[in-house]
């Protein structure tokens, strides 16, 4: 095993500029490979989290994105404080850290020439949580799709409702779904893309009621948390529990699509819409 050891040693001495560890399988991979594949591990196919802007970059035709409602940002309707401080401060910090005003970026653009309204959640912004501002932006995106009869695509990435906004965050579930309902009535396609993670109040609202639900491989998609369930039922859960693959098997997603093929498949699906 001399070869292996020396190779391993060589790796460890190599600069962090070149190598990184996969967040999932922990294997060493080239940073360049990771970036070129848009954060998919070449060893284990782990689909890493993307920022909203990275996602928009690989989804829409270059230069076609026009952002909408970018000025919407969190208020603090409950004057919420917890053990670690105030919601106001947390929100300000998230805005500073991400350069975003809310947990979702919305706008319009084209996919291989096909116009779409797009909403992309960003997990970095308070765990992609669903707030009044996020709900409002998603509703407006749906309304835009409704008014112009353009298909709507939403990329979800969220830990659930933003509890710092109390009951108002819960109401965003009803609000966004009311927007989706109007699209149904007008037969305007809504494609939901579920990415890692899509849980809680987001999974229980717009994310799971796409006309077509697509998931990225290996994403966590859940209503209740695994720990809560294990405490309730006092029983071990299957290994693939609450993954994309599990949801496919149970009938809740139409297909699992690799990140590298997502744009092409979205285009292919949209091309069947002929009204």
């Amino acid at each position: 095993m001399a070869w292996f050891s020396s190779r391993k040693a060589a790796k460890e001495t190599l600069s962090e500029d070149i190598w990184m560890k996969c967040p999932k399988c922990d294997k060493h991979i080239f940073k360049e490979d990771w970036q070129n594949s848009h954060k998919v591990c070449p060893k284990c196919n782990y689909h890493g989290k993307l920022t909203a802007w990275e996602r928009i970059g690989i989804t829409l035709d270059q230069g076609t994105f026009v952002e909408t409602n970018k000025t919407i940002s969190p208020a603090d309707p409950l004057e919420f404080h917890d053990a670690k401080g105030s919601y106001k401060d947390k929100a300000a910090e998230a805005m500073k850290k991400t350069g975003l005003n809310e947990s979702v970026v919305t706008g319009t653009g084209t996919i291989n020439g096909k116009p779409v309204v797009l909403a992309v959640m960003d997990f970095r912004f308070l765990g992609g949580s669903l707030s009044s501002g996020c709900g409002e932006k998603i509703l407006r995106a749906a309304n835009h799709a409704y008014d112009k009869s353009i298909p709507l695509i939403i990329y979800s990435a969220s830990g659930g409702a933003r509890m710092h906004e109390g009951i108002l965050s819960l109401m965003q579930m009803a609000k966004t779904c009311a927007g989706i309902a109007r699209l149904n009535e007008k037969n305007i396609p809504y494609i939901s893309v579920l990415t890692d993670p899509t849980t809680g109040g987001v999974s229980a609202s717009f994310a799971t009621v796409g006309d077509i639900n697509i998931a990225e491989p290996g994403a966590l998609i859940a209503f209740a948390g695994r720990r809560v369930i294990e405490e309730t039922i006092k029983q071990k859960l299957p290994d693939d529990f609450q993954t994309s693959e599990y949801l496919l098997e149970h009938g809740f997603v139409d297909c699992i699509i690799h990140r590298s093929e997502m744009k092409a498949k979205l285009h292919q699906l949209l091309s069947f819409y002929s009204r």
Binding site: D82, M163, I167, L170, A174, C177, A178, A207, V228, I233
Partner: protein
């Protein structure tokens, strides 16, 4: 957060054309009453306890005590009959309605069968089936919300708890008959909202409605369930707060001592409130009804722009 004075001014303006502001006037009156009752002596956490009181009326108490002619209908036509949500045709003061609600059960055995009112996806799908039946029969829908939340189990995830609730949110937005929802005890998260999208949303005065249980919130944000009273305070789950946030249209005062101490008084108060709200709703044509419901939920939320 208006003062009584401001509210009274609004009321004066609206009273000149009451036919336009019917609902608003009633909401403002409720708000004034709640403000007049002065500084609350009861904490949020104490109200949570009250909302969970074991002697509060449960679904069957309402079904047989407040309504007449209740005929229970079972099943989701897909997988099972989840008893945690109960429903059927009934009459309220002679008016035909479909009544649907979480059923916590009364006996130990019933509570077990009903998972204390925590429903599975099958329960939400059954509720939607009954709502579509109400639409077909052209009768209004009355929902009674009383749950800690949807049941967090293997079965629920397997059969799509998230999808079942989400589907109800979409479909309740489309239902063409009036829907009046009342939180009569615990309004717990998505499990409550799953039958909670209505033209009017009301709360009994000692009920609570929250995005997460105080215990759950404390566990996450305080890293310890024992801070539940602090979380309860922070989440503002009480009826007055929801009225101010415009999530709830009306708060129905419970009889002195609370609903648990006076079922008959509670039924009378809730019944007259539902009938009062129902009358104008029944006059609205379907397409306008769903448009108004859409506008109502569209307006929910507070953000900067």
């Amino acid at each position: 957060m208006s003062t009584i004075k401001e509210l009274e001014k609004k009321l004066l303006v609206m009273s000149k054309t009451p036919e336009l502001f019917d609902a608003e006037i009633r909401a403002i009156k409720s708000e004034i009453v709640s403000l007049q009752s002065g500084p609350k002596t009861r904490t949020a956490w104490e109200t949570v306890q009250l909302a969970r009181h074991k002697d509060r009326p449960t679904f069957k108490d309402y079904a047989f005590g407040m309504f007449t002619d209740f005929i229970e209908l079972h099943g989701d036509r897909r997988f099972s009959d989840d008893l945690a949500i109960c429903g059927g045709f009934a009459r309220l003061d002679g008016e035909p309605v479909m009544v649907i609600g979480h059923d916590k059960g009364k006996t130990i055995e019933e509570k077990g069968d009903r998972r204390f009112g925590c429903a599975l996806p099958d329960g939400y799908r059954k509720a939607m089936r009954l709502m579509r039946l109400a639409e077909q029969f052209n009768v209004p829908i009355i929902t009674l919300i009383d749950t800690q939340g949807a049941y967090p189990g293997l079965e629920g995830e397997e059969r799509g708890q998230a999808e079942a609730i989400a589907r109800n949110l979409v479909e309740m937005a489309q239902i063409t008959v009036p829907i009046i929802c009342t939180v009569v005890g615990e309004g717990g998260s998505g499990g409550a909202l799953g039958i909670g999208v209505g033209d009017k949303v009301m709360m009994l005065s000692n009920s609570v409605y929250s995005v997460i249980s105080p215990e759950g919130c404390a566990g996450i944000l305080w890293r310890d369930n024992k801070f539940a009273p602090d979380a309860a305070e922070a989440l503002k789950p009480l009826a007055e707060s929801l009225l101010k946030l415009k999530v709830v249209d009306r708060v129905i005062p419970e009889p002195a001592g609370g609903a648990h101490a006076d079922h008959a008084g509670t039924f009378a108060a809730l019944k007259s409130a539902i009938l009062e709200e129902l009358r104008p709703l029944k006059k609205i044509v379907p397409v306008k009804l769903t448009k108004k419901r859409f506008d109502k939920f569209s307006a929910m939320g507070i953000y900067n722009e």
